[in-house]
Symmetry: C2
Subunit: 199 residues, 2 copies
């Protein structure tokens, strides 16, 4: 193309690398950044660097945190005897949105996936086992994703926890609320039937 402004092209390229951003959107975002005021652009750049510098893993649950303990682990009103094990910090946000769960979390930081070369030692499983040490934890809820890898990881972790005398549970499978039975897949429907409850 005859038209090439190097630093604009570079910015577009940066946005283009991001997930779910195509070339047109990257271009729109780059022009949005150009239209920003000097301060706004500096604020944006600072937010990126800040997030990178300040955020690390919570010493207890391995969730994202700016301090040594994440906001949830440092709260005294949370039920420390229940730990919900999730794959990713985003899953913590999702479960917190229910506003009903009052226990704590443990972020595995992935799932066991031999195809991608991720074994149990890549995850924060030893940190989870270490938390069982003082006998304060009574129940571990496995809330990994309902996928083959998530399932396998849940099985693996629960087998490690069993000898420690901790009850391990798994999120219920079934039809999602608001869905149409007609469009539910066979496996989900089968799990919903198997897990039927008296009303």
């Amino acid at each position: 193309m005859g038209y090439e402004v190097a630093s604009l092209a570079k910015l577009i390229e940066q946005f283009e690398r991001m997930p779910s951003i195509g070339h047109k959107t990257a271009q729109r975002l780059a022009f949005y950044v150009l239209d920003m005021s000097e301060e706004q652009a500096k604020g944006f750049a600072k937010a990126i660097l800040d997030a990178h510098e300040k955020i690390h893993r919570c010493a207890v649950c391995c969730n994202l945190s700016e301090d040594e303990l994440c906001p949830i682990c440092s709260k005294t009103d949370r039920d420390m005897s229940v730990v919900c094990v999730v794959e990713d910090p985003r899953d913590v946000i999702a479960i917190e949105r229910t506003r009903e769960f009052n226990g704590t979390y443990h972020v595995l930081n992935g799932v066991i996936s031999p195809l991608n070369g991720i074994g149990p030692e890549e995850l924060t499983i030893k940190e989870l086992i270490a938390r069982m040490g003082d006998g304060q934890i009574k129940e571990v809820i496995m809330a990994t994703n309902p996928t083959v890898e998530g399932e396998a990881t849940a099985m693996y972790v629960s087998r490690l926890l069993k000898p420690l005398g901790v009850a391990t549970t798994r999120l219920a499978y079934g039809v999602p609320v608001g869905a149409d039975l007609e469009y539910a897949d066979e496996v989900t429907l089968l799990r919903a039937l198997e897990g039927r409850q008296t009303i």
Copy 2:
């Protein structure tokens, strides 16, 4: 929400302000930035600041440029006697994509829009008139958007240019290539009929 990491929330907010980015996408982008390496994050922040610092307006055509003259105005093989007037730098990219136009551009930096408080003096119209000074320019192609404002701006500019003895033309209206006549709107079809050409 119980879960709040300040610098992450700030980064999500920054992305959320951008056009066509909703909360979910903003969250995904912020996590993508967190997953970047130290260098990548610095590179991204630098690209934002660089674009802001280095890019300004070309002294001739008011297009975006890092140097005094934009890549198009500084090229000697472009036809300096034809100027294509567009609203926005993005329109230059669009027309350059045709690979057929070999003239130069003039970026108005908007359109006359009394509703939004944008008058002719907010645009780069005086810079365009100044370019007519040396009599080198023979034709001005008005390529503002085919909207009410774009149309009015094209009319306004062409009326200013007429006394200067410069031929002004307007992009042809008609049915877009590959479209279905059935779905073309009446106004476009009418314009296509009016502008019909012998084959």
